[in-house]
Symmetry: C2
Subunit: 337 residues, 2 copies
């Protein structure tokens, strides 16, 4: 059963395990520092399809297939799949996953979706609703640029605070086997908005949500940053990470010697023109599902916090002058060797 | 705890109750047959706001406030809120719900969201993750037309199979109190696509998903249509309902003397120019959360199936020539007087 910890956190008594995972990335990511870590690289931005959106759907289906394979589980054995992405109406997910015929629960958490899907998987498995659950998310630079900013041919110039949407996907398979990386606790975020309106500065928009959820988790669990091997955020990037440190400092919390961010890990900002770093659902998805979980399985990481953040605006809301509300979902993942 | 029933259905041993609900509708709906049933009518399409999207967000916040009030529960007592809508990036939900400060899990099931949110609420309450959970969804004719079809000023002509997006919202509060309308069983749908490409015929696109989920539920539970007082669909409308009957007939299942559809109930198709009937997340949301639950509380309905369907395409996928995948989620709701 699940029990409540403090005001906002839940603990999983069985601690469902991540029994398989798969992280896919694209060409630019393959030129970055984590090139050797991804389970698969897809160099063609169309991935053999006619459109970028279809390519993104294909990233999802490849990620799920890979994760199921690694887990030694067939699609028929999966009771639920939790999926979402950045495309309008989450078509990356719906079209990508038809073929698996797994009961489907679409999620929308923007770039927090990797964490949201893992929380969903853990709750459904722990509750008995699912024997096996799967989650997946994706993003694609080209489909995201077209939808959120400009078609590539426009040659729009990006601001220094802008981040580069990762072409990538990540999927995990969750089952209660009492070994390997296990989901111990989770904190679901609250929508947080400190009035940032600049849609080219997602880091600033999301940092407040990240600070809030982290603070709630530490308070609820009476733990502190140094209790964990790693505090990993999804895609705060350079600006968001620095602002997170500033916001936490106001609360007397210092995570700097434990923190890393998938958006800062996935590219080499010195040689790759990605400005403030990587972003997108596939940023946390690809990095967490490959590098991070591999390090856990190897015993290099044993007790981590994984928190992905999402900006909940749309081009329409920004165009109407609204500020950018955000959310951050957190999991405490422990290793049972 | 939750137990599995057959291949695709789950049963809730505690059977979480819907302790409060609120259905809101707009001007056209107030001119229809259910005018007296809604908890609130909002006549102004802008609802005092500057844009239709802000008006839709406001529908959500009003629905949640109303449901909490009916339930006798404050926002602080709610552990999770599950919400989604049809707007890109679900901004109806995110902007509408900021003020409640409830841990937020965005859902995307298109017009199936009312059922999806209820399933989520039931799982989270039954599992112990939540003492109280809330779900909400909305749609708005004007915001939907602009995003999915044309701005109103364009004066686009609708096809006979087209449906009218309801301006409305519905919210439920779920808690384990062992009385009133309770969630007994649920079947999460699988993405289903029989190749319908006509985005002006959502009923045809969604009927296959509805037939599939219903068939799975009946098989898993070894029950039949006449075991239930009502088999309520969300927004299949005229075309979708007829196609559902045809598809079920191929399986030897006849629901016609138990079936009704929120999209057919909410408007008078003889006097209101809505073509094939109502649609949108707020269609099922407003009707289920007002009329249907009221009838349950009054003992007029005691054992129902509520199944909402969603079409998972976007204007982009349709523009790229893709067919329309759909999904249907079902709950069996029983009365404990």
């Amino acid at each position: 059963m699940i029990h409540r910890i403090g005001a906002n956190t839940i603990g999983f008594e069985e601690m469902p395990s991540i029994i398989g995972s798969f992280g896919i990335a694209g060409k630019l990511e393959a030129q970055g520092p984590l090139a050797e870590c991804f389970d698969k690289i897809i160099y063609d931005s169309y991935n053999g399809k006619d459109t970028y959106e279809q390519a993104e759907s294909n990233l999802q289906s490849e990620a799920v297939s890979g994760a199921l394979n690694k887990a030694g589980v067939s699609a028929e054995e999966v009771d639920y799949i939790f999926a979402g992405d950045l495309l309008n109406q989450c078509i990356g997910s719906s079209y990508g996953l038809i073929g698996f015929e797994i009961p489907y629960l679409g999620q929308y958490g923007a770039c927090s979706t990797m964490a949201q899907g893992l929380i969903m998987s853990a709750v459904y498995v722990e509750s008995g609703a699912a024997r096996v659950a799967t989650c997946v998310t994706s993003s694609h630079f080209c489909s995201a640029e077209r939808q959120y900013r400009f078609p590539l041919e426009y040659g729009g110039v990006r601001t220094p605070t802008a981040q580069w949407t990762v072409t990538g996907a990540g999927s995990c398979v969750v089952k209660n086997v009492k070994k390997g990386p296990c989901i111990a606790r989770a904190t679901v975020g609250k929508i947080t908005d400190l009035g940032v309106k600049d849609a080219n500065n997602m880091g600033a928009a999301m940092a407040p949500a990240a600070a809030r959820t982290l603070k709630e988790f530490f308070q609820d669990t009476s733990t502190k940053p140094n209790d964990y091997d790693l505090i990993l955020t999804g895609d705060l990037g350079l600006v968001g990470s620095r602002l997170l440190y500033d916001l936490l400092k106001l609360e007397g919390i210092d995570i700097r010697n434990r923190h890393n961010d998938c958006g800062l890990m996935i590219y080499d900002r010195n040689s790759q023109d990605v400005h403030a770093g990587g972003s997108g659902c596939g940023c946390a998805g690809s990095v967490f599902c490959s590098k991070i979980l591999s390090e856990m399985r190897a015993g290099k990481l044993n007790n981590i916090l994984f928190m992905a953040t999402g900006a909940l605006m749309s081009p329409t809301s920004s165009g109407q002058g609204a500020s950018i509300p955000s959310i951050a979902h957190l999991l405490n993942i422990k290793n049972r060797l």
